[in-house]
């Protein structure tokens, strides 16, 4: 029992994976057949929640309560940028649009680190800025995506969508960076204790800003793909992904206090959130639910999932030592 608890604690991805299986079975229960295409479709639909969730994971892992609330606006901004710029040059336009996301992340990071404004408020404020840019600029921009690019991202290899492959590539690359490079170690160190990281010789400011930039690049990438998949950019396009992506981040085992991340967990978290809404949509259609019930169930289920998955993860405070530590160690064994 204790060993199982220890295993689950070390591999937080277990919970979202179990959640995916559960919803797959529930959908099967409703429709009467376990159709694997449900999973492939959900994986395709989960693209944006996954990219944003991974982006958020990196930012949150930098610790100090960091969170990027401007993500959905960056996504929209980059979507507009891509439709406009790719019209001129598909490849350069693609790169430029993604880089705009990175630049937005840079702004967030610089404000957070150098002006010492808490990330939550800094990104809230820059989110307003980016959204205003969208509101002002959108009337001057092209909204239709580049057709070749649309064909590319909406295509598929066998049953697997190109978008899913792209998410997989991003996830693997991130996993390598986060768990096999100096930067990854530094990021997790900074997230656990910024003072200790600074005193260990880590350039904390640069590490945090890089986290924001990486997050911005991923949000930008999500925006470019979203514009192509949805047939164009529109002002509120990012909003729908705010909750699923944040939920994926935390359900996937990212420590809200920073320093702990799980690429696998967050990716499956995004898939689970998508399967959950597919399930609720199916149920809504079949049983003709009153409006509001869907949101109610979604919220309740999200809290429930957190209840089982995040619970038990010990919060570490700065002044902890002695017996609780021994206790923690014995659970880890």
């Amino acid at each position: 029992m204790k060993r199982a608890a220890g295993f689950v604690q070390r591999h937080p991805a277990i919970w979202p994976i179990l959640g995916c299986v559960l919803f797959f079975l529930l959908i099967g229960g409703l429709t009467g057949s376990l159709d694997p295409t449900v999973v492939f479709t959900a994986a395709r639909l989960a693209t944006f929640a996954a990219l944003l969730g991974l982006a958020q994971m990196i930012v949150v892992t930098s610790g100090d309560g960091a969170i990027d609330l401007s993500q959905v606006y960056v996504l929209t901004l980059c979507a507009y940028a891509s439709t406009t710029l790719m019209d001129a040059s598909p490849v350069l336009g693609f790169l430029a649009a993604v880089l705009i996301g990175g630049f937005a992340g840079l702004v967030n990071g610089v404000i957070n680190v150098y002006l010492r404004i808490p990330a939550m408020v800094a990104t809230l404020a820059t989110g307003y800025l980016y959204f205003s840019l969208i509101l002002v600029g959108s009337s001057h921009m092209k909204v239709l995506p580049q057709p070749d690019f649309v064909a590319l991202v909406t295509g598929s290899v066998g049953p697997v969508s190109t978008q899913t492959i792209l998410v997989l590539v991003v996830a693997v690359a991130l996993a390598v960076v986060l768990y096999r490079t100096s930067y990854g170690k530094q990021l997790h160190a900074v997230g656990q204790n910024r003072t200790a990281a600074f005193l260990a010789g880590i350039p904390t400011g640069r590490v945090v800003i890089t986290a924001f930039v990486t997050g911005g690049l991923l949000s930008g990438l999500a925006g470019v793909i979203a514009a192509a998949v949805m047939g164009g950019a529109f002002q509120d396009m990012g909003m729908a992904y705010f909750l699923p992506s944040i939920a994926a981040t935390f359900v996937g085992g990212t420590a809200a206090s920073g320093g702990r991340s799980s690429v696998l967990g967050v990716s499956f978290g995004a898939l689970m959130m998508t399967l959950m809404s597919s399930f609720l949509n199916t149920a809504e259609n079949m049983f003709d639910l009153v409006s509001g019930i869907k949101q109610l169930i979604m919220g309740a289920f999200l809290v429930l999932i957190l209840f089982v998955s995040v619970a038990g993860t010990k919060k570490h405070r700065r002044s902890r030592a002695g017996a609780p530590a021994t206790l923690k160690a014995s659970i880890g064994d």
Partner: protein, 823 residues
């Protein structure tokens, strides 16, 4: 004094023979999983005696104390409390015999005033206290501090965060001493931050209270103190008893040797190598508390930095560390620098990591291959240090938190050494470390010196200065003396530490702090912002100075003010509410759809909403969930319920509500009255109400609150319920403004309330809040919108301007409230 102490000793001994022990622990086992912290340990405590509890780190002293204070339950063994056998020492026994403990990790709420920390402990838990209780508690706290530490000059109205470490320790000890029913006092490393004369004051106090029949357990690594004040010494090793000694019959050196360590600090003679070139040289260094500091540190020597705690030693070390990249004319640093902190939990270990990662974090360059970290080489390097430093752990993959403090410290030193730094800065690396490990640390430092590194050692234990080749003694930011060679003795260090004690700049400090206080007030920014924006509004549109226009302006401010106050109560608890946009929307729907139809149904529904908030607080606490996600999830519940109640916008504002909202008190429009009332009432709740201490305390140090006997979960639920109440009020007045129910129009309150709370002067980390500032900021924020409308800014740009203003305002705060942050 000496003879009376001896008398007490014999008195204590006869007492021990005659009366039954206060506490008797026999054959106690305590295991954590597979780790055995205590095995067949026994410990008796008699009234009126001072027992010294000594032993290496990891010997089980802390565990034993946790059993005595009722924090832990023994796995096996018998406990007798005044002869009565109990399963575990529970809260009842703790209260009955009056057990109090001054903890090593200080159990104070740093955001609360000193007297509030005391009051938490000795006030009853009734919700109200008689008027004037704060004044009474302040003088009580003052008297208490003055009684045990005469001449301390601590202002009890100041928050604990403004105190030096030594002052905090004094406060912590007094907090333990104030138990009216004190029967057993436990002091866990009480003098680690105290100067010699403060320690003497403490020892006098210990003698005094033991004469009144109070038992004292004194835990310390400073064996001379133990010998001086204890009647009996109990040695614990590997979780079991390793002997009991009479302090008059055992010398300090003997005690050290039975504890398993070498005798005394390493002898300096024989290792005298010629010092190499200067690696650090500071000349007339000033700033952040340092005054005209000139030091030179050469390769191949150990340089000590000593003086009374808080004389600038840590600042000097951190300044040298921070200067490693840049170049200042007054401070040159040649070579790579590593910093080893003795504050392991605060600035040393990475608690989620293994020993391996903790050692390697500063030397990843050496294990890098083609941009990736080589697993095999990482393991080799870590194993090398693991073997060399003889860690007491299963292996390099053991979590760092499974190590004792001393072994964690070794990992930190290994980190510094592994980084290949030329300059090693050690800030009190032996704090709370057992003697054996200390010896190992001294040996490591000697090796580093032999390898040509420059070692800078700051220690709060003066005796450690004897391993140094040279010592700089600091006093109030100055280097007052440099000792070298044979002059490096404890006596000389102590003498130099007290050089020119009384200084005249005390008055000057006071005056400048008053001016700084005005600038640093958290209220300055929001109130200034409110006034400036109001004036700007008036300049653009002079009509707003009329009462009617003021009403119009404030109309829209009131819901935001309450939304922000709701957010503030959750921020007080250290959490954040990401779902209040929709909970306010739900309250809006309930008011417009239910309350307007049937008052009772409406009232009950709103009460349910408040209850739901309290339940959310309980859930977050019980399962330790991140509030940000729970409230995000809850947002969908609020939205769902609201959509079920009102699928389409509709409903109406109750007539009485509209009438109330458009009324006024003596020409003052109701919205203005509401803002003032909201500010005063919430200010009262947070800062004047007795329970307000708990509300703020749990956002800062929930452990301290629980140790003081208050319930954490109740505090959290009250915070959340108050937030729920504010949400309901925000929804109510939002209905009065919009006249209808529409769950979606209030969604922006979430972001706006967070921004308002921060502009209002609250800290997102929790515990530090400013209700009046929040109200002012709420008004300022909604005035911004009207200002932008007046000056006909493109409505699309209004959000951008709001965002810019938030950034500017907070950037201004960084400038006005610049703190001494080294990182």
């Amino acid at each position: 004094m000496g003879s009376s102490a001896a008398q007490v000793t014999t008195g204590g001994a006869t007492l021990a023979g005659a009366t039954e022990p206060l506490l008797m622990l026999r054959d106690i086992d305590k295991s954590f999983g597979i780790t055995r912290a205590l095995s067949r340990a026994s410990f008796d405590i008699f009234p009126g005696e001072v027992v010294g509890l000594v032993g290496p780190n990891g010997a089980g002293k802390s565990t034993l104390i946790k059993l005595v204070t009722g924090v832990l339950e023994p796995t096996a063994g018998t406990i007798r409390v005044q002869g009565r056998e109990v399963q575990q020492i529970s809260h009842r026994e703790v209260a009955q015999i009056g057990i109090s403990c001054a903890y090593q990790d200080l159990s104070l709420c740093t955001n609360l005033a000193i007297y509030e920390n005391f009051a938490l402990l000795n006030m009853n838990h009734a919700p109200w206290a008689p008027v004037g209780w704060r004044k009474a508690k302040m003088s009580e706290a003052d008297a208490l501090l003055e009684r045990f530490f005469p001449g301390n000059q601590i202002d009890v109205a100041k928050p604990v965060s403004a105190l030096t470490l030594a002052e905090r320790q004094m406060v912590e000890i007094c907090k333990a001493l104030m138990n009216e029913n004190l029967g057993l006092l436990i002091l866990d490393e009480p003098t680690s931050a105290l100067s010699a004369n403060r320690a003497d004051q403490l020892h006098r106090a210990v003698r005094e209270i033991s004469q009144t029949g109070v038992a004292v357990v004194y835990i310390s690594h400073k064996l001379d103190e133990i010998q001086k004040i204890c009647h009996r010494i109990v040695l614990l090793k590997n979780g079991t008893n390793a002997g009991e000694f009479d302090p008059r019959q055992i010398s300090s050196d003997d005690l050290v040797s039975v504890m398993g360590g070498e005798v005394r600090v390493r002898d300096r003679s024989g290792t005298q190598t010629a010092a190499g070139p200067a690696l650090v040289s500071a000349s007339k260094l000033n700033g952040s508390g340092l005054k005209d500091v000139s030091v030179e540190i050469n390769s191949g020597e150990i340089v000590g930095v000593s003086g009374l705690v808080g004389s600038g030693q840590t600042t000097l070390l951190k300044t040298i560390f921070a200067a490693r990249n840049g170049r200042r004319s007054s401070l040159r640093v040649n070579g790579r620098v590593a910093y080893v902190s003795g504050d392991r939990a605060g600035e040393g270990v990475f608690p989620l990591w293994s020993i391996l990662d903790n050692i390697l974090v500063s030397s990843m360059r050496t294990v890098n291959r083609f941009g990736l970290l080589s697993q095999a080489r990482s393991r080799d390097v870590a194993q090398h240090w693991f073997d060399r430093l003889r860690f007491r752990a299963e292996g390099v993959d053991s979590p760092i938190t499974s190590l004792s403090g001393g072994n964690q410290q070794k990992a930190l030193i290994a980190r510094g050494l592994a980084s290949g730094a030329d300059i090693l800065l050690l800030n009190d690396p032996t704090a709370g470390v057992d003697i054996e490990t200390k010896q190992e640390i001294y040996t490591l430092l000697a090796e580093a010196k032999a390898a040509g590194k420059a070692v800078v050692l700051h220690s709060t234990e003066d005796v450690e200065m004897e391993i140094c080749d040279r010592v700089y003694v600091m006093r109030e930011g100055h280097v007052t003396e440099e000792l070298a060679g044979d002059d490096v003795t404890v006596q000389n260090v102590v003498r130099a530490s007290f050089a020119e004690v009384e200084r005249s700049d005390h008055v000057e400090k006071e005056r400048s702090s008053r001016l700084a206080g005005l600038f640093q007030s958290r209220l300055l920014l929001p109130i200034a912002a409110m006034l400036i924006i109001y004036v700007l509004n008036a300049i653009v549109n002079p009509n707003i100075l009329s009462l009617g226009s003021t009403r119009l302006l404030l109309n829209t401010a009131v819901p935001l003010v309450f939304a922000a106050l709701g957010q503030m109560f959750i921020v007080t608890a250290g959490d954040i509410d990401m779902g209040n946009g929709y909970s306010i929307g739900l309250a809006n729907v309930v008011v417009a759809v239910l309350l307007s139809q049937n008052v009772w149904v409406g009232v009950v529904s709103l009460l349910l909403l408040i209850g739901a908030y309290a339940a959310m607080g309980a859930l977050i606490h019980l399962r330790r969930l991140p509030a940000i996600v729970v409230t995000l999830g809850a947002q969908f519940i609020w939205l769902g319920v609201a959509l079920i109640l009102a699928p389409v916008p509709g409903g109406a504002s109750p007539k009485w509500l509209s009438r109330f909202y458009s009324s006024g008190v003596l020409y003052v429009p109701m919205p203005a009255v509401l803002c003032v009332v909201a500010a005063v009432v919430t200010w009262f709740i947070v800062f004047r109400w007795k329970y307000g201490m708990v509300l703020r305390g749990i956002g800062n140090n929930p452990d301290a609150i629980e140790r003081s006997g208050w319930s954490y979960i109740v505090g959290k639920m009250v915070n959340y319920a108050l937030a729920g109440l504010m949400v309901v009020l925000a929804g109510l007045f939002f209905t009065a403004v919009t006249y209808a129910a529409d769950v979606n129009t209030s969604a922006t309150f979430c972001m706006m309330s967070i921004a308002t709370v921060i502009v209002g002067g609250c800290e997102m980390a929790g515990g530090v809040v400013e209700p009046i500032g929040v109200v002012a900021a709420g008004i300022a924020m909604s005035l911004i919108t009207s200002l932008l409308i007046f000056v006909q800014v493109d409505s699309n740009l209004q959000l951008a301007v709001t965002g810019l203003i938030i950034i500017l305002v907070l950037a201004a705060r960084v400038v006005t409230r610049r703190r001494a942050v080294v990182a």
